[in-house]
């Protein structure tokens, strides 16, 4: 399969006060379309930084980042926002739902960036909520949902615009084991049945087992894994 994510000699540095910290050192990886990759590593290893680069939330200090056929490290902020809307669905550890909106309104958010009609948006929202098994909770607000249900709504929101890539940052970090496994099964189903490419950051080795491949980072470098350049 062709690589949907390709990073070449990527360096990422942060400046904290007078100190410059290099978080990623000449990192090169490729992720194939339709893959489900778990990014693992200790705190400070650079896995979230890497996920942010892949998701177009951040730019590298050096090197190339190609995702979904586009060199995203060269895009402006505005172009990057449009690119994210078209290609990336995000799932966060703490769900990041809008508390004042119902589940269906939360899921509809990415569709507001498209030209779809209101009726079509509604249709797509219902379909996405059905995929995550929450069609009957559409009118509920986040505060009325359990953690697992809230994360399912977040996954529906990530899916609804049919993105090229799902980027998940510790999606089960706030959930108990049983609920976490349900969410991971859901992600696995989206990968296998719907062909979604998924990149997931996790601390949890059990969660990583649900992925097809694992990438381990330490001190900003790839130390082992079955998918790397």
């Amino acid at each position: 399969m062709s690589a949907i994510v390709s990073l070449h000699n990527v360096v990422k540095t942060y400046t904290r006060g007078k100190q410059t910290v290099e978080v990623l050192h000449n990192l090169s990886i490729e992720i194939a379309q339709g893959d489900f990759v778990a990014l693992m590593g200790p705190s400070g290893s650079g896995k979230t930084t890497l996920l942010n680069l892949i998701g177009g939330l951040d730019r590298p200090s050096k090197g190339e980042v190609n995702v979904a056929g586009e060199r995203i490290d060269q895009l402006s902020s505005g172009q990057l926002a449009k690119w994210r809307a078209r290609h990336v669905g995000f799932v966060f550890q703490f769900y990041n739902l809008m508390p004042m909106l119902s589940a269906e309104r939360n899921v509809e958010l990415p569709l507001l960036l498209t030209n779809l009609s209101s009726a079509r948006r509604k249709q797509n929202v219902q379909a996405a909520l059905a995929v995550v098994g929450l069609a009957e909770r559409a009118k509920h607000k986040p505060a009325e949902l359990s953690g697992g249900q809230a994360q399912r709504v977040a996954i529906a929101r990530a899916l609804v615009a049919d993105p090229t890539l799902l980027v998940c940052d510790e999606p089960t970090g706030d959930l108990d084991r049983t609920t976490a496994d349900e969410i991971l099964h859901l992600l696995q189903m989206l990968n296998k049945d719907h062909g979604k490419t998924i990149v997931m950051v996790t601390h949890d080795p059990k969660a990583a087992e649900f992925a097809s491949h694992q990438l381990h980072l330490d001190k900003g470098q790839l130390v082992e894994g079955s998918v790397h350049a």
Partner: protein
Amino acid sequence: MKQTLAVTWMNLRSLPSRYMTSLVVVVGIALVVGVLVAMLSMSKGFEHTLKGTGSESRALMLSAGVTAELSSYIDPQMVPLLREMPGIRRDAAGKPLASAELLVITELRRGDGDVNVALRGVEPAGMTIRPEVKLVEGRLFKSGLRELIAGRSATRQFSGINVGSKLQFRGSEWDVVGIFESDGDAHESELWTDADTARSAFGRPGASAILAQFDTSTPPAVALQTLKAAVAADPRFQIDVLGERDYYSSQSQGVTDNINFITVFITVIMAFGAVFGALNTMYSAVAARQIEIATLRAIGFSGLPVMVSVLAESVALALIGGLIGAGCAWLLFDGLTTATLGQNFTQVAFSFAVTPALVARGLSWALGIGLIGGFFPALKAIRQPVAEALRGA
């Protein structure tokens, strides 16, 4: 547009969860607008009272160079000559419709001390050429007697002025025999008596001014020019001729300019405070919504809708504050009658006037404060890197 409306709507719907910090903006701006509208309504009411005094069909003749009727004095020998000037209307008997009037200050006791009240000596023609003056209680004063009629505002403003009451001044007792109204203009703050009685009581045989009605055969502006030219051409006179309405408008100018200056000065100082209050609140609001905003931006919403949503919140709070402030000013002050010193150093009663234009002016200040208070936090909201904002850093 869809993005902007959606994000703005979300932002406004989250306001109740931040009501305490939002209240700072609302209260701060309500105070600014309340003070601004209340003070300007005072100036507007005063201006309205004086500008509403007089008619375009009448002229006032004053001694040359003076700015107020009270400091004017026309020699008694000049009075009959001035009445005969061209441009002045005549009655059926051929007598000029002009009233040589004496305006003096007299002291009246009020609850909290003595106050200056204007007493106007009026000739019979003075009543004829002022159709707006209506006797609403009692009767007109009689010539040669210490009798007077009082303006409606004067009765409200000063204690003890009613039909039948007696006033002490210039060493004698004066009977109040009637009450008059004149459409709420400045004359309603005066006491009127017979001109000859006033001249005799105050020992001033001349006149402060001559009020004359224009000849109706020509437009008022033409008649005024005719009269001005005739008076200026006659070397016997040192007299200025003014349109009556222009004269009263100019009388309000100094006081309203002062009130307006003080109002703007105080409002600017208060507005500075309100801007900082708004900035503080909106920075808090942006901080409270940092992750929500970052999530929206991660999903693909651009900076503009986020910026507009923060500005919309700030402006919405400011307008709510502005409406409350203007509403309070209207409830507390609109129509409230008070008195201030006119340029004659007499009490002029007037009503505060909270007009739609003043409310609009107050709301425009609120809008300005809201926009400034929201702009920098909005800028911060869109400038913070998304990845950093998502961490809640």
